[in-house]
């Protein structure tokens, strides 16, 4: 059955249906509806909703609940995510699974409350201090957000690492029809490493990120990076529309990709062979797909709601084979299909975007 839901609420319901019964958060716009939904929903199904005293406390409650073996999440928006970065680093360093949702708003500082994609660098390059990655998903519709939630939880469990859904104020606030997964018993994976009391039945478990011996720490980080390499092999998600025969490819993710899809369609109508390459996972990044496209396209255009962050990764993937242009709006401004179309036309005419 399809129901009409706001993005933030759909994320929350999808988490519940994925077996999440523990939510720890702190109020911030524009993710408000997510926490409010959980506050209503979780107590009715023997779950826990807790409004913490800060984002810092909330992410550390997530750490504790994750260590105890729960399928647990928090949600916030850009300034709040900055406060969570300490906890995210510890969760990664302690090999614990958790889901963090960032409904991005404009920055830096308090920034604004309108949609933004200016936290790409933070999410994919430095989600916390130290050598680490987290899984980063960038859905572009309310339905895809719903579908991503369970996958994010499952991969976080499988690889014992944090996962983030990098949404934005537009996806969080807009309403679309969605099909939710069935509400039934979810078989969650066993977590023999959980610190939930050994009961005298097993050796004691320790959730810890401190390793004083440099060689031991290096070994553990390398072991974690071997897991990351496996994820890069197996779990990249990317959507390609009209890329095969394209001369010009637009690279965009999330809400911006929908704007670009309309622009690409308009360009095709004008006889420009444009395509859209949409990373669905930002980490792992679809480097391979972009590198392959670079073998036959004349130029790329990266479009973001930022001053240009993902474009770094596009350029690394293209590796100088063809030009990579950038177009962005920031501060909470959403680019229009017309603006993007003009950029595509400029590139097609051989000029610089």
């Amino acid at each position: 059955m399809r129901v009409l839901m706001k993005g933030n609420e759909a994320l929350a319901e999808a988490a519940v249906r994925a077996g999440c019964r523990h939510f720890f958060g702190y109020p911030i716009t524009p993710q408000t509806e997510l926490a409010a939904y959980m506050a209503k929903r979780l107590p009715k199904i023997d779950g826990v909703f807790l409004q913490a005293e800060s984002e810092i406390a909330a992410i550390n409650m997530v750490l504790g609940a994750a260590a105890a073996g729960a399928r647990v999440m928090t949600s916030s928006s850009s300034p709040g995510i900055s406060l969570k970065t300490e906890g995210i680093s510890y969760i990664a360093g302690s090999d614990l699974p958790a889901l963090i949702i960032n409904v991005q708003r404009g920055g830096p500082g308090l920034g604004g409350i309108q949609p933004s994609q200016a936290d790409y660098w933070q999410a994919t390059k430095a989600p916390g201090h130290g050598d680490l990655h987290i899984l980063v998903f960038a859905p572009n519709s309310v339905q895809e957000m719903v579908d991503t939630v369970q996958n994010a939880f499952d991969l976080a469990d499988e690889y014992r690492m944090p996962a983030m859904i990098l949404a934005d104020g537009m996806l969080g606030q807009m309403m679309e029809p969605v099909t939710l997964p069935d509400e039934g018993e979810i078989q969650l994976p066993q977590k023999p490493w959980a610190t939930n009391g050994h009961g005298g039945n097993r050796p004691r478990n320790i959730a810890n990120s401190l390793y004083i011996e440099a060689a031991e720490l290096e070994h553990l980080v390398r072991e974690r990076f071997a897991r990351y390499a496996e994820i890069e092999q197996k779990h990249v998600q990317v959507e390609q529309i009209g890329v095969d025969d394209a001369d010009f490819v637009v690279v965009a993710y999330g809400a911006t990709a929908r704007v670009c899809q309309a622009a690409v369609r308009a360009a095709r109508a004008k006889g420009i062979k444009a395509g859209l390459l949409r990373p669905i996972t930002l980490w792992p990044f679809p480097t391979q797909a972009i590198a392959e496209a670079a073998n036959h396209v004349q130029a790329f255009l990266t479009v973001e709601m930022s001053m240009g962050q993902m474009v770094d990764d596009v350029r690394l993937a293209v590796n100088g084979k063809v030009p990579v242009a950038f177009y962005g709006r920031t501060g909470g401004i959403i680019p229009t299909p017309q603006e993007v179309l003009e950029q595509i036309e400029k590139i097609a005419e051989g000029g610089q975007a």
Partner: protein, 251 residues
């Protein structure tokens, strides 16, 4: 042959890393004895701090989590909300609890979070080499208060039990010391009582233990114990600051 004395089962065999004369070891033992006394080793989850007791996860023979600096009460909250039947305690120093982790501590107490905090107050940052702590005494010389703590510029030391006793969610707050055999016995009883109250679901419990830091105080172990009595106890009086089982609230 009857066993009349042995190491608590809730302590591992790992040699403690604490400095000579430091009373962390005594406090570890008291906590472990209290866990054993409640037959709770298998159902206990401890949360270690950042600071001198950061390696507590090597010493307590229970499931353990090492928390970010100051965040132990939030981490313990997460554990307790998932496993309400477990005995959940944090073991924190004064910098961890009363400086960087003040918000987490106060709000865990105000929520009546059903956890126990073992708060080790030695009036100094030990692990990092003797800086001024939120509980360093007025006039106390430390690495970062080399002319003595001037309360006009560095503020006043925080009396944690007195502060937390004002919160409705706090079920039990007692300050103890481990400077003498009678006081060690009292400290053991206080920790045991806090754990029992947690098992009964009474709410937030905290036992503050006045402890020594001979290395950073620049005193020998005997002088350190004396300094606890002559300098710390007048500012941090021992006693029960809140006990909801005693009828009336705050002292």
């Amino acid at each position: 042959m009857a066993i009349v004395f042995q190491k608590p089962a809730s302590l591992t065999d790992a040699p403690l890393h604490y400095c000579p004369g430091c009373t962390h070891g005594i406090i570890h033992r008291l906590v472990a004895e209290a866990i054993d006394g409640l037959d709770a080793q298998g159902s206990t989850v401890g949360v270690a701090p950042v600071g001198c007791a950061v390696f507590a996860y090597n010493y307590f023979n229970t499931d353990m989590i090492e928390a970010p600096h100051g965040r132990a009460p939030a981490v313990a909250t997460g554990v307790k909300r998932v496993c309400p039947q477990n005995l959940v305690f944090t073991y924190q120093g004064d910098g961890d609890l009363a400086a960087i982790g003040t918000a987490e501590t106060v709000h865990a107490a105000s929520r009546g979070e059903n956890i126990t905090i073992i708060f080790v107050n030695n009036a100094i940052y030990g692990m990092t080499g003797g800086q001024m702590a939120p509980t360093s005494l007025p006039g106390q010389v430390t690495q970062t208060s080399p002319y003595g703590r001037d309360v006009k510029t560095a503020g006043h030391p925080i009396r944690v039990c007195e502060m937390l006793a004002t919160l409705s969610g706090t079920a039990y707050a007692e300050r103890v010391a481990v400077d003498s055999v009678p006081n060690i016995r009292k400290a053991g009883k206080a920790i045991r009582k806090a754990f029992e109250l947690q098992k009964q679901g009474a709410g937030f419990t905290i036992v503050e233990v006045l402890s020594t830091c001979p290395t950073n105080w620049g005193l020998n172990p005997v002088e350190s114990l004396e300094w606890v009595r002559t300098d710390m106890m007048p500012y941090y009086p021992l006693g029960v600051y809140k006990d909801i089982t005693a009828g009336e609230g705050t002292k």
